[in-house]
């Protein structure tokens, strides 16, 4: 008799969808997430496709279903170390990192008020800071604080413990390694942004006003580091002229040889954010081809109507900074006119591509292709961006489909 439970690895939109769909079929489901909160990349966005909903829209509904479901067990801050066995009887070794905050936490925030130590927010892609004890996101699920012990200032720990009215701080929490036995695995570890510093001709990390597309999402988010305003990091001014560099790292054999599927749409979405902020903001979109898969063609028309976009066919391969104004001079060849353009802009957005989260930490028992995307093998079903670059809608379709496969395995093995 096969093990009747399903393991879902990754708590982003795909993993959440798979986990709740499976749990509602009344099988035991374990959902494992590396970060302290579920929500994944969607949780970091201002709006997501296809209908430009804010992330609260899709995530909260699912969180409600999850809370109500007795078949679902969630582990946050947990990594998969290795996978043994086969379909029907997998043995998965996991490691849970200590949160230093126990289940008594109600997210009242008293600890945060007295904490002095700060840490750079990776949730905000380095644009902001949090206290050493912090809520991972305003809609964190589980809604509990996390303590980063390395960021504590002297005396912080005592102050935090005495400020907590619920006795929720537990500095002695230890890392745990444990094993789960499951019948099938759905792999939904999603993607990360390609490392922009590896594109040495585009100046990211060297010039203050060269930002990534995900940083734009965080700035545009109402609870992001700039309170929803897209601003130049150098002086906090709203940019009047913004260049978008498409295929930054994607479709490039020196970096990611594949098309990342969403960057063109993300850029079009960002032009709408800028138009919403100030209609006259000029957007220069430097592209090789604008790719709007399927019905997204109409989104291109919408952006052309609503935002002030100047499309230039030619990839940006050189960016220089004017040290006095921190403006940027962007060089490309306009291949339609056959002349080079050198445009001065206030800010550059790199439309960076997606890299699978599994690209640089191979997990024994998991098969990946040459780029790190997870390859399906019996009993282990990759979904969403762990499988290939996708938008939210297609990720959810793959996540739902994977549940059927997983159920077939545990029922038949």
């Amino acid at each position: 008799m096969a093990n009747q439970s399903i393991l879902v690895v990754g708590g982003g939109i795909s993993g959440i969808t798979s986990a709740i769909e499976a749990a509602e079929m009344e099988v035991p489901v374990y959902l494992v997430e590396r970060e302290p909160t579920l929500g994944g990349r969607v949780g970091q966005l201002r709006y997501y496709f296809p209908k430009l909903c804010p992330p609260t829209c899709g995530l909260e509904l699912n969180y409600k279903r999850m809370k109500a479901n007795p078949n679902l067990t969630i582990y946050t801050m947990t990594d998969v170390l290795e996978i043994n066995g086969g379909p029907g009887n997998f043995k998965v070794k996991l490691r849970k990192r200590p949160r230093f905050v126990n289940d008594n936490c109600t997210a009242c925030g008293e600890c945060e008020k007295v904490c002095e130590g700060e840490r750079v927010s990776d949730f905000d892609f380095g644009l902001g800071k949090t206290k050493a004890i912090y809520l991972p996101s305003p809609m964190a699920f589980p809604g509990k604080y996390v303590l980063d012990k390395n960021a504590l200032a002297p005396g912080d720990l005592e102050r935090i413990i005495s400020a907590c009215p619920y006795n929720a701080i537990d500095p002695d929490m230890k890392e745990e390694v444990f094993e789960l036995e499951v019948g099938a695995i759905i792999w939904a570890t999603g993607w990360k942004l390609y490392d922009a510093t590896r594109l040495d001709n585009l100046g990211y990390g060297k010039y203050a006003n060269v930002v990534t597309n995900m940083q734009v999402e965080r700035m545009a988010s109402p609870w992001g580091p700039t309170g929803g305003r897209i601003l130049r990091p150098s002086d906090g001014e709203a940019p009047k002229r913004v260049a978008f560099v498409q295929c930054a790292g994607s479709r490039d054999e020196n970096h990611l040889p594949y098309c990342s599927y969403i960057c063109c749409l993300a850029t079009l979405k960002h032009t709408l954010y800028l138009a919403e902020q100030s209609p006259e903001t000029e957007c220069l979109v430097f592209y090789i081809d604008i790719r709007t898969p399927g019905r997204y063609e109409k989104f291109l028309k919408r952006a052309q109507n609503e935002a002030n976009i100047n499309f230039i066919k030619g990839k940006v391969a050189k960016i220089e900074e004017d040290p006095a104004t921190k403006d940027l001079i962007v060089t490309a060849e306009d291949t339609l006119s056959g002349k080079k353009v050198n445009e001065r802009v206030n800010m550059v957005v790199l439309a960076l591509g997606m890299q699978p989260s599994t690209s640089d930490n191979p997990i024994p028992g998991l098969t990946t292709d040459e780029y790190g995307f997870v390859v399906e093998k019996e009993g282990i079903i990759p979904v969403g961006c762990a499988k290939k670059p996708l938008d939210v809608m297609c990720s959810n379709e793959s996540a739902t489909g994977a549940v059927i496969k997983a159920l077939q395995i545990i029922k038949s093995a």
Binding site: N201, K318, E333
Partner: protein, 402 residues
């Protein structure tokens, strides 16, 4: 606009030709234009190499022929290093230059021999036969190549007017002066063809189509200055190491040219016959300096290329390797003559080395119209055109304003 039909004829044979001489990656290009932006030499008004890549993909010989851009590239390889498709525009440009060279110069079979590995033995054989025939004629029968007193230092002399010339000098003068004449005639013809296509392609108004004399006096000198200073070459990014060895090589060639000219005048015309004292004669020393610069430059280029290949910014295909090693052999055999001649037990092998050296020099002369070495003439022409074109652009603009 909508009703016009543009008929485009792709020339597959041109594409195949480009691919056969080092441009096999040309079809990988997807026209993103990264190359044109990263290139430190590409001008704003007529950027390269993106445009030439698509012309090459369609095999448009005529358009490539009339485009000076392919010669303005110094193959630093920045485009190749940053190319997202590994289409290697820098290497494709090298093959386009070979294609244009073949288009412009008659007796195309010689070009094929120069740029395909199987042609090498044929070339060696051709040059050996020519040298052998004229040796046999001037030495009055086949000399003993293993006896230096028989070849090259025989006691046969020719009296021509007031000149008294040894047999080897007569042989060399006959062979190499006629070879030089041939090279000059075909290259002058090719340059004139090239210049005309440039004028037509850029629609230069008749009033600004200057005579060759005026072009040479106004633009050739600045172009040569630029070339000798390597001012364009030194802007190249990835392969900046190449500029210095190449400069030394050019200096080496210039010094050797002066040396040869001096020897020709002093020995053949004034009658101060060689061999001269290898340790004390100033012209000998000039030759040694030239030879050392040549060897230093060529070895620097060969070893630098190996490094560049590891960085994936440059590829060395057969036509590149051929020219590099040919120049190396010219240098080595040149010094070998001096050494063999000075060491008694090697002395009798001087004739063999002498013959090998003449073969390499013969191949080097003939390489000017038929190999990558053509850049000596064609790149110079393109630089002259570039200076000329910029100048008349300025004049046209100022006449528009007034």
């Amino acid at each position: 606009m909508g009703e016009q039909v543009l008929k485009v004829d792709a020339d597959l044979s041109a594409v195949k030709e480009i691919q056969s001489v080092g441009g096999e990656t040309v079809k990988r290009c997807y026209q993103c234009a990264t190359c044109s932006s990263v290139c430190p030499l590409s001008p704003d008004e007529a950027p390269f190499p993106r445009k030439q890549m698509i012309l090459a993909q369609w095999g448009f010989r005529e358009k490539l022929l009339s485009d000076p851009s392919i010669w303005l590239c110094h193959q630093c390889g920045d485009c190749t290093r940053y190319c997202p498709r590994n289409a290697r525009p820098g290497d494709v440009f090298a093959s386009l230059r070979l294609m244009v060279t073949k288009e412009l110069v008659p007796f195309k079979f010689l070009n094929t021999f120069y740029n395909q590995p199987w042609g090498l033995p044929i070339l060696v054989l051709i040059s050996f036969i020519i040298l052998f025939i004229f040796t046999a004629l001037t030495f009055k029968g086949v000399p003993n190549f293993f006896d230096a007193k028989s070849f090259p230092y025989s006691d046969i002399y020719y009296k021509i007017g007031f000149l008294k010339l040894p047999a080897r000098v007569v042989m060399i003068d006959i062979v190499f002066l006629s070879l030089a004449g041939f090279v000059i005639v075909v290259m002058a013809n090719a340059v004139s063809k090239m210049w005309k296509t440039y004028l037509d392609y850029y629609n230069i108004p008749q009033a600004y189509r200057y005579s060759y004399g005026k072009i040479i006096s106004s633009y050739l000198i600045p172009a040569l200055k630029e070339i000798i200073n390597h001012s364009r070459f030194e802007k190249c990014g990835s392969n900046s190491w190449r500029a210095n060895p190449h400069k030394m090589l050019v200096f080496g060639f210039i010094i050797l040219f002066i040396t040869t000219g001096t020897v020709f005048i002093l020995a053949d015309i004034v009658g101060m016959h060689t061999p001269w004292n290898p340790l004390t004669h100033p012209v000998k020393w000039l030759g040694y300096i030239g030879g050392i610069l040549l060897l230093y430059g060529i070895i620097g280029l060969i070893s630098g290329r190996n490094k560049a290949e590891l960085q994936n910014s440059l590829k060395t295909s057969y036509p590149d390797r051929f020219l590099l090693w040919l120049i190396l052999f010219v240098g080595i055999t040149g010094f070998a003559i001096v050494i063999f001649r000075s060491i008694p037990f090697l002395f009798n092998l001087t004739g063999v080395i002498y013959m090998i050296h003449l073969i390499t020099v013969f191949l080097l002369f003939l390489a000017i119209p038929y190999s990558k070495f053509s850049h000596l003439v064609f790149r110079t022409t393109a630089v002259v055109f570039d200076l000329y074109y910029k100048d008349i652009q300025r004049k046209l603009k100022s006449s528009d304003l007034s």
